[in-house]
């Protein structure tokens, strides 16, 4: 399953010369090889920063509301940021801006379609789906052994596209949060429909009720297979899901006061009988014959609760969730995960006291409504505290999707097949940085959000650092190529949208403010300017070159003079270590 070497080699070939054939060669053979090899050694992981704590509590933020605050809000609740995003939110008040981010459109996006068939008469072609015509959605089609690998990649590409095309909204970052929380692996549940349905639930509940979502997930086909729930029967209870439900999804293991092994067993008994109708339409069903109808006695951790056995699977399930969600640990556990996803990993006693505990109280008091939690956190003085800015190490999704968004790029897709291949390439890029949406390393999600003491630093090792730079190198000086389609940064278009592209000082100021989370040193700015000016001291040379281009955009010389300098400038900025922070 080592992906990176092989895929990167063929990648490079493709990147170097526009030879679409190399994309096709082995494409299907390697389709499953996206799953990253997570057992990488980490050559250099110094201890984390534990001494510095963020300031402020949950009191509403009352400080200045300007570019930097709006950009911070966007960087943390979306992937990357565009100038228009900042302008939109900056024109509002802080409260309105946060409300806007949290005003999530729950209309399901158009589902993924069969884009995995291609036939140009060559021997390189996709799979001709006997049931789903090319261009039609496959999400309602029955399981098809031959098609599922492609459908999963179709789903993954579709998901990447949802993120790339995101509105000014928290929806996609929240969806990925839930995916990290209720982590499942496409590689283990090789059925595209289950992946899509599961993902749709996460997106639908993006800012919904946590308790309700957990119930949904408990009966979700993807999860029933991933954690063996479908095999959990009265004669041989399978504890897998019952354990993770408590350990990873709700109660957590942060508190010294813990549920017992017997609680795991009792919960598994409650969940017996929930399975999948493989003989029929693959829907989730409650199989009474396989349900343990005896009483379930829980430990003192759960106040010695007894869930009475019955033939009503849903009633028992409700009782189980009422019991679990009565525990104070649940809200605190989830608030810590929220905190680490949106703010910072280091939760010391002060943060616990000032942020986590009061946030958890609000969460519980509002019946596990996640939106109120997010609203309180995002409007807090803690969230906007100055030292909070830029301490989040970007996830690979932030790097890939965020970079595309920074430069206003979308997946071209001149045909559905081209789009499929391009999205596949983007997923390989993320995978090479050790984060492939749909395939976290295990049920606990990505290490960067749970691995004490390194946390975010797990993302950056010598291997992934190179791959991060490689991606931005490709996008700035070369291109991702999928047959006829090319994905690369339009440097001049990016500069053209700036307020003052003809003034090198203002251009550098604005570009770095857009792309980097904190101001950089004057030395760095001088270096950046020298790139734009090829080492010349007179700013006017850039100004002249820029307006030579503006006055005659069709002059290839005028174009090239500004294009080559912007290319190197952007390439250099995207390689700055600062670019890895948000």
């Amino acid at each position: 399953m080592t992906v990176s070497t092989i895929d990167r080699r063929s990648f490079l070939k493709r990147l170097r010369k526009p030879s679409p054939v190399s994309v096709k060669k082995g494409f299907f053979k390697n389709a499953k090889s996206l799953i990253p090899n997570v057992a990488k050694e980490l050559p250099l992981v110094p201890p984390p920063a534990t001494t510095i704590t963020l300031n402020g509590g949950l009191d509403p933020y009352t400080g200045p509301w300007d570019y930097d605050q709006a950009a911070h809000l966007i960087r943390r609740t979306m992937f990357g940021l565009k100038k228009t995003d900042v302008e939109l939110l900056k024109s509002m008040t802080m409260e309105q801006a946060v409300d806007h981010i949290l005003d999530v459109d729950n209309t399901p996006p158009a589902p993924p379609v069969n884009n995995y068939y291609f036939n140009d008469g060559s021997d390189e072609e996709g799979y001709e789906d006997p049931v789903v015509p090319f261009g039609d959605t496959w999400v309602n089609a029955a399981h098809d052994e031959e098609a599922e690998g492609l459908r999963i990649e179709s789903f993954r590409g579709w998901w990447a596209n949802q993120m790339i095309d995101q509105e000014v909204s928290i929806r996609e970052k929240m969806t990925l949060f839930w995916h990290n929380h209720f982590a499942t692996q496409a590689s283990q549940v090789f059925f595209g429909k289950f992946n899509y349905d599961h993902n749709s639930k996460l997106r639908g509940y993006a800012l919904g009720n946590f308790k309700e979502l957990t119930k949904e997930i408990t009966k979700d086909g993807m999860m029933l297979i991933f954690l063996n729930g479908f095999l959990n029967g009265k004669d041989a209870p399978d504890e897998n899901y019952a354990r993770e439900l408590q350990e990873l999804f709700t109660v957590g293991k942060d508190s010294p006061n813990q549920y017992t092994e017997d609680d795991v067993y009792q919960a598994a008994r409650v969940l017996t009988g929930w399975t999948i109708n493989f003989g029929g339409d693959w829907e989730t069903v409650f199989n009474l014959f396989n349900h343990d109808q005896g009483d379930k006695q829980f430990s003192s951790f759960y106040n010695n609760t007894i869930i009475e056995g019955s033939a009503d699977g849903n009633a028992e399930l409700d009782a189980l969730f009422d019991m679990i969600f009565a525990k104070g640990e649940v809200a605190e556990y989830l608030c810590r995960k929220i905190y680490r996803w949106f703010v910072y990993y280091n939760i010391d006693a002060t943060v616990e006291q000032e942020v986590i505990v009061p946030l958890a109280n609000i969460f519980r008091d509002n019946g596990y409504d996640i939106k109120i939690v997010m609203e309180t956190l995002l409007k807090s003085e803690h969230f906007f505290d100055a030292v909070n800015k830029g301490c989040f190490i970007k996830t690979p999704v932030d790097v890939v999707v965020g970079t595309l968004r920074n430069f206003g790029l979308t997946v071209p897709g001149s045909t559905l097949w081209d789009e499929f291949v391009m999205e596949y390439l983007l997923n390989i890029m993320m995978s090479n940085m050790q984060m492939l949406p749909g395939d976290p390393p295990n049920v606990a999600g990505w290490q960067a959000f749970r691995q004490f003491p390194q946390y975010y630093r797990m993302w950056i090792n010598s291997d992934t650092a190179r791959n991060r730079n490689f991606f931005t190198d490709v996008l700035t000086v070369a291109a991702l190529e999928a047959y006829e389609d090319e994905l690369k940064i339009d440097h001049i278009a990016f500069a053209s949208q700036l307020d003052n592209p003809g003034d090198p000082v203002k251009l550098i100021d604005e570009v770095t403010r857009l792309l980097l989370p904190q101001p950089i040193s004057d030395t760095k700015k001088t270096l950046l300017k020298s790139i734009l000016l090829s080492g010349l001291p007179n700013d006017g040379y850039w100004t002249n070159a820029w307006f030579d281009y503006i006055n005659d955009p069709n002059d290839p010389m005028a174009f090239e003079v500004v294009n080559v300098r912007l290319t190197i400038l952007h390439n250099y900025i995207l390689k700055l270590p600062e670019y890895q922070l948000a």
């Binding site: 510095i52 830029g390 650092a465 003079v561």
Partner: protein, 524 residues
């Protein structure tokens, strides 16, 4: 020095070796292919070329002063002209001298370590800094947009497949390194940069000492320092650069104090890397400040001020570098070359400065150069137009072609520069581009007497091949064919009569089995 055989296949083999590291080149610089082709060749013959960019357009007429044009020049440069008695003399000519700040460089010239190429430029001068820089870096004509660098193309030709499979056992070192700035284009290959850049001397010393730029004591700063450290150490050439720096130290005492001469600071690093055993064939360093529209000289006289300071810096830095590599024992394989995107006007402007002009002289230095001056002083008219400049005499691509062919031994420079250019006799001992069967060593070509009064005898040892001997003028233009035919293995003599030639500098080029040896001939 024992040269390795020129095998084009060496590049191919390297490309086929399996991944040693999983890295990729991280530099934006390596984009232009011209520099890259040179680098590849150098792994073949172990030679190194250090390019020194003088950014801004150097005033050639105040760098290399045409003493035989002095009276005309004095009409146009009331405030700028270097007093005649202060011009530094050269030991083999009275017609030309150096700026008074360049005493160290004068010594190098008189020691036979400098080749001067007169009036270098390109046809149809554009006069725009950016465009001219791009033309120089890409090795293009003024009407072309190549989008790749001449060194990038060079390296790409020799190391096909880069960066896939690099670094490798055969090619552990960067193909090209730029220190001191980040210039677009020169190292750019067709899709990837072929070299790496070290933005500043500070960055280099941070790198070799495992230091990172300090960040603020905030969570942001803490994470940033961590990422800086990992990214520094994940630079794929981290180990080899560190090892080279640790293996050597600068030996020359002639370097000016650190941070007083930016060019010297850069060249000091280059010397240390070469001395430390790096096989990187191409380095590029840079010094700015040459765009002297105003205050080129200051009130105390034409030999002081900004330009004088720049001349002093170049002179001191280059001299110290040359001394250093000599002390390190690597001087025989290293040459350097200055270049600037264009020259300046003949006449001074009203601001004690000069404006953009076409051509300017260029210096190539090192033990490998053929000492002397190639080309003639420009003719300075008594009356000039506003903004009249020195016309081009030598195409910069002739210089590149000479570097590629005669220094790096690259046979087919035409594939890099897209056309034929005259080879200038810059280098003393042109690298054979191919070992010749039965040749038994390097070609020996000489003529006697030289200078030539009436006749001269050209002697060469033929590998048993078709041989052509052509005569070219100082600008590299074909004049006449001296001999052509099959010559059996062994020494041969051809007598040449100069009776139809005007006095001046000429070159004769002996071509055997695709190898060209070019020598200078002075006709009286």
């Amino acid at each position: 020095m024992k040269r390795r055989k020129f095998l084009r296949a060496a590049g191919t083999t390297a490309a086929l070796t399996p991944f040693v590291y999983k890295g990729y080149p991280i530099s934006p610089l390596s984009q232009n292919s011209v520099f890259s082709q040179i680098a590849a060749a150098a792994t073949i013959n172990d030679r190194v070329m250090v390019f020194i960019e003088l950014a801004g357009g150097n005033d050639g007429l105040n760098t290399l002063i045409p003493l035989d044009q002095y009276s005309s020049l004095s009409n146009h440069r009331n405030n700028l002209l270097i007093p005649e008695n202060k011009v530094l003399n050269l030991n083999d000519t009275f017609a030309t001298g150096l700026h008074p700040s360049m005493t160290d460089f004068q010594q190098m010239y008189n020691d036979g370590l400098v080749s001067v190429v007169q009036n270098v430029g390109y046809p149809e001068q554009d006069y725009s800094h950016f465009r001219s820089m791009d033309i120089w870096m890409s090795g293009s004509s003024s009407s072309e947009n190549l989008g790749t660098g001449w060194l990038g193309r060079t390296l790409e030709g020799e190391y096909p497949g880069f960066p896939d499979g690099f670094p490798s056992q055969d090619t552990p070192d960067p193909l090209a390194i730029q220190i001191g700035s980040i210039t677009p284009l020169a190292f750019m290959g067709s899709s990837f940069p072929m070299g790496m850049s070290i933005a500043s001397a500070d960055e280099f010393y941070e790198f070799v000492n495992d230091l990172v730029e300090p960040a603020p004591a905030t969570p942001y700063g803490d994470e940033l320092e961590y990422i800086r450290l990992v990214m520094q150490q994940s630079q794929q050439y981290y180990e080899v650069i560190k090892a080279a720096a640790e293996n050597s130290q600068n030996l020359s005492t002639k370097y000016p104090a650190e941070f007083t001469n930016n060019l010297a600071d850069q060249l000091r690093i280059v010397a240390r890397l070469i001395g430390g055993g790096m096989q990187t064939p191409v380095y590029m360093v840079s010094i700015g400040g040459f765009d002297t529209h105003s205050q080129q000289v200051d009130g105390s006289g034409p030999d002081s001020g900004n330009h004088a300071e720049l001349m002093r810096q170049i002179s001191e830095a280059v001299c110290a570098f040359q001394d250093d590599i000599k002390l390190m024992g690597v001087a025989d394989k290293v040459c350097g070359m200055t270049f600037s995107e264009f020259g300046r006007t003949i006449g001074e402007n009203g601001s004690l400065g000069t404006d953009h002009g076409a051509a300017a002289p260029l210096f190539v230095f090192g033990e490998g150069v053929n000492p002397g001056i190639i080309g003639d002083n420009a003719n300075i008219p008594g009356v000039i137009e506003d903004s009249e400049d020195v016309p081009m005499q030598n195409d910069f691509r002739s210089v590149y072609a000479s570097v590629l062919q005669d220094w790096f031994g690259i046979e087919d420079y035409q594939t890099i520069l897209n056309q034929e250019f005259d080879i200038l006799p810059i280098f003393k001992d042109p690298t054979p581009t191919e070992e010749v069967a039965g040749g038994g060593g390097a070609f020996e070509v000489s003529n006697y007497p030289n200078p030539v009064m009436s006749r001269t005898t050209i002697t060469f040892n033929s590998p048993g091949a078709d041989v052509a001997i052509n005569l070219m003028d100082a600008q590299g233009r074909f004049v006449v064919q001296i001999a052509q035919g099959h010559y059996p293995t062994g020494f041969h003599k051809v007598v040449f009569d100069r009776s139809n030639l005007n006095s001046g500098t000429y070159f004769y080029q002996v071509k055997m089995n695709g190898v060209a040896v070019t020598k200078r001939m002075l006709v009286l």
